[in-house]
Subunit: 361 residues, 2 copies
């Protein structure tokens, strides 16, 4: 157990935006929410997964929807408690702690704000080890934990419990509600026992986010060293460096979808990278050839500060570095690839691990 203070939260927000792989929301917005909550209620306890009881119940809370909408439709503040309380009442479980559903600038912060306001601990794990756009793209789903009963609410006070026959139906029903609620909504889902967390959680991700965030914070002191350390702790690859020359982005069925086009410089002169997105960066094509494929992570960061650049804010002219990180082993199983591999998103490629593709060059 350790306490998360303001400094930890700043670093977690930055690192989470990195692992958000373009999605998971804007870290500036997320940070403000969490900082305000701990300013009001004091620091949050972070528990290692090994410290929780098998029989206790925990529940993640998150913001669902298009990140571009999320930025203009800031939560009122009582949504997190409402989804948690409603789900607790509906399931009959007292939730003794919370944890992030995904790593992301907003969605790593939502549970911290919730933990602060309810005075409960945060568990050092999540359900993706990155961000993904759909509700069934969760390691808990791969492990057989039900996504529902889940609760969804908006800033106006409308709310609903959703209980479905599988996680894909939860995604479908929650998605149409999210769109109707204006494009973003707050959800609590995958209520889980300690035993289920031990089996399915991506352990230590909050701490890993913090470590990466700390290195990004200090990158101005020695950018090359910071980058090398980030690649080391994430087991990652620097795959591109260049200038954004075009961003096609639209909101479609409640998602941000599009294509980020980058022309290379430095070691990548005369090369072109295209990053296809659905909330997250999903597929990187170098000179038209796949270089990184979902579920592996594609991280676009500022070329100088190494600050993560999320899909809803990336713009023409931005100078960026592009990194890639192997996904957690659970995402690389047959079930993981079926759930969140390239074909699920309509890309006509068989999944191949980033380390293989990078080696081929």
């Amino acid at each position: 157990m350790r306490l998360l203070d303001e400094e930890s939260i700043e670093n977690i927000a930055t690192g989470a935006a990195f692992f958000g792989a373009g999605g998971g929301g804007n870290p500036f917005l997320g940070k403000l929410m969490a900082l305000e909550a701990i300013k009001k209620n004091g620091p949050v306890k972070l528990l290692d997964v090994s410290e929780i009881d098998d029989d206790d119940y925990f529940c993640p809370a998150a913001i669902m929807g298009a990140p571009a909408v999320m930025m203009e439709k800031i939560p009122k503040g009582d949504e997190f408690e409402r989804v948690f309380t409603m789900l607790s009442q509906y399931t009959g479980h007292r939730f003794v702690g919370t944890f992030p559903m995904e790593a992301g600038g907003v969605n790593s912060m939502v549970p911290i704000a919730l933990a602060a306001s309810l005075g409960i601990p945060l568990v050092d794990c999540d359900g993706m080890g990155r961000a993904f756009p759909e509700l069934q793209m969760v390691t808990f789903y791969l492990g057989g934990v039900a996504a529902t009963p889940m609760v969804i609410t908006d800033e106006k006070g409308n709310a609903g419990v959703i209980k479905t026959i599988d996680a894909k139906w939860a995604e479908r029903l929650a998605r149409v509600e999210t769109v109707e609620m204006g494009g973003s909504a707050t959800v609590a889902l995958y209520p889980s026992s300690g035993a289920q967390i031990k089996q399915n959680g991506i352990r230590g991700i909050v701490t890993l986010c913090e470590q990466v965030g700390l290195r990004i914070r200090d990158a101005h002191l020695n950018p090359a060293k910071a980058l090398a350390e980030i690649l080391e702790v994430t087991n990652g690859h620097l795959i591109f460096e260049g200038k954004v020359i075009d961003v096609e982005r639209r909101t479609e069925r409640g998602f941000n979808v599009g294509d980020i086009k980058i022309d290379g410089f430095n070691d990548f002169q005369d090369q072109h990278l295209s990053v296809l997105i659905q909330n997250e960066n999903l597929l990187a094509l170098r000179n038209g050839k796949p270089l990184v494929m979902t579920p592996d992570l594609i991280e676009i960061v500022d070329a100088d500060t190494l600050l993560p650049v999320t899909t809803e804010v990336i713009k023409y002219g931005k100078r960026v570095k592009v990194l890639a990180t192997p996904a957690d082993a659970r995402w690389r199983t047959e079930a993981g690839i079926k759930t969140a591999g390239p074909r699920y998103f309509g890309f006509d490629y068989d999944y191949r691990p980033v380390e293989e593709l990078v080696k081929e060059g």
Copy 2:
């Protein structure tokens, strides 16, 4: 109190389709559901509103969606009990009886099937005195009763509780779920105390449906007498007689919308009637001039048998009579007209009562 047997149910289904004003679902389908349920569980008790206790709780159940979809997507049978049980659990109220939300071939039958399978009574009232397409178009809404918490489910077993800040948000969220569930869904909503029913229910509508249904059943013996009696018990008007020459009909945002065009014969030779629909018949224009406007009822019936013809089955070539009935006084208030009058549906007319328009000819 009296018992509803097979014969009553047949007549109620027919009369309810008449009051459904084109909507509320197909009486043949509705009848089958209710008859099967009483065959299995015995007859259903019908209670007069005066017989219920103020402090008891009751809840309507209904099928929501486009009637054209409903016909091809027949409920599996356990949906009614599921919505009722879930809403009972969520609200903490034991529902001692049920009642129809609206008059309609299906939606007057759903509560009978439910009452039979749960062994609870049906209350002789509804919340419209007709059918309307949206969830806030209910006398209970006009009287300040909350539409939610409500429960929605599909035949696959997906379900949700919806709790909103007002009935229009309930309509919006339940509508997108209905569309996502395939275009029709089963709902339980407007949970009400006996006192709320006494204040807001349209009393005696089940019995009135039965009376009209009985006259339609016997219409072949003396059609003119049956018609005269129907007009008498409903305080109605015969406004047109003719042949359907065109039906424009499409499914839009989960509703059947369209225009039924009828060329007159007999007393209406050389006249033309156009009936605009959104699930229900909403506006009748004779030679381009309004003759009946929602919330007043427009009933299209077979010219010979007087059997109601609902919007999802009406076809080119059908010979019909068109009747009109004044809406319940609550629909003719400012709030009622704002909720379900012509302007709400996008028709550029101020509401005028059918009896005035008919008099002007």
